[in-house]
Symmetry: C2
Subunit: 188 residues, 2 copies
Amino acid sequence: MATPDPFLAVANPTWVGKLIQLNVAFPNDEERMRLALRLALENVRRQTGGPFGAAVFESETGRLVAVGVNRVLRANCSVLHAEVVAIMLAEARLHSYSLRNPKHELVVSCEPCAMCSGAVLWSGVRRLVFGALREDAERLGFDEGPVFEQTYEYLQRRGLEIVRGVCRAEALEPLRLYKDSGGAIYNP
Amino acid sequence: MATPDPFLAVANPTWVGKLIQLNVAFPNDEERMRLALRLALENVRRQTGGPFGAAVFESETGRLVAVGVNRVLRANCSVLHAEVVAIMLAEARLHSYSLRNPKHELVVSCEPCAMCSGAVLWSGVRRLVFGALREDAERLGFDEGPVFEQTYEYLQRRGLEIVRGVCRAEALEPLRLYKDSGGAIYNP
């Protein structure tokens, strides 16, 4: 008998829907970042994935469109970093493969890896805000992949605004908690 | 009332399951590539997405584990390039976030973009084979994003074997057909 072509459902863990409220407005980078950090922390505490959280906002209004947490271990899917989940779910909600118009932005607890930097570009978000830096994640043993200074120059030439290190001290918390709780470093 | 957290089902178009047979063995690069090219061509002919196809094989046996076609336009999802779909579905089938053991490989109709190069790395596949080159896709108006010579050096240092330009002349066909049929260039 033929093996049916497989499929995969992309979704956040169920606690996410109870914790957050979509459509609420977050007025500034710090409040937007604190949401991403709360998601990252809860993902560690509830043992549903890696110490990363992300959220997509409508830039002008600050309206929360979608969030994502790292799902690699729980969903058995190496692609489902927090940024990818947030982008996929934001686009699913808006029924659009582009978050360009109206202007949207992605706020992430930690600097995106090579895959996610590309995903950010293709999503059309026009602003990327992150908390912890590459070296913070690498100190934990996570690999960021082939991201170079040139990568950021490329993204900025395409009109992406990049804001680094927002609430960086707080952004170290999920990483530390993950390390202290013996979380798996799941690079293959 | 609270807006429920959204979800997204990742799957190939239904024609894929009728066209391909999983678990069949493909003995060499050329036969593996021709499957990827057939998927790319059919995706254009049936107007279910961009001119790209990909497949994951078990390296040793040549057993077909999963395939993917570009789903960006139809699934309204900028992340669902052929490579990402193939990797997600292969991992879903194997219930594992790593395709490293046993050794797997990804065969793609065209050189992967920045996002997909990162996805290839995190998937753990140990061999990447592609047909058309970056410049072939760019001539059509597709953007490959921030992929540099350094990117490939990085991937190779991590143990990824890279084979370029397999069946390149045939690999131009899906790109040409897409262009001639007025297919949308969907970079945001």
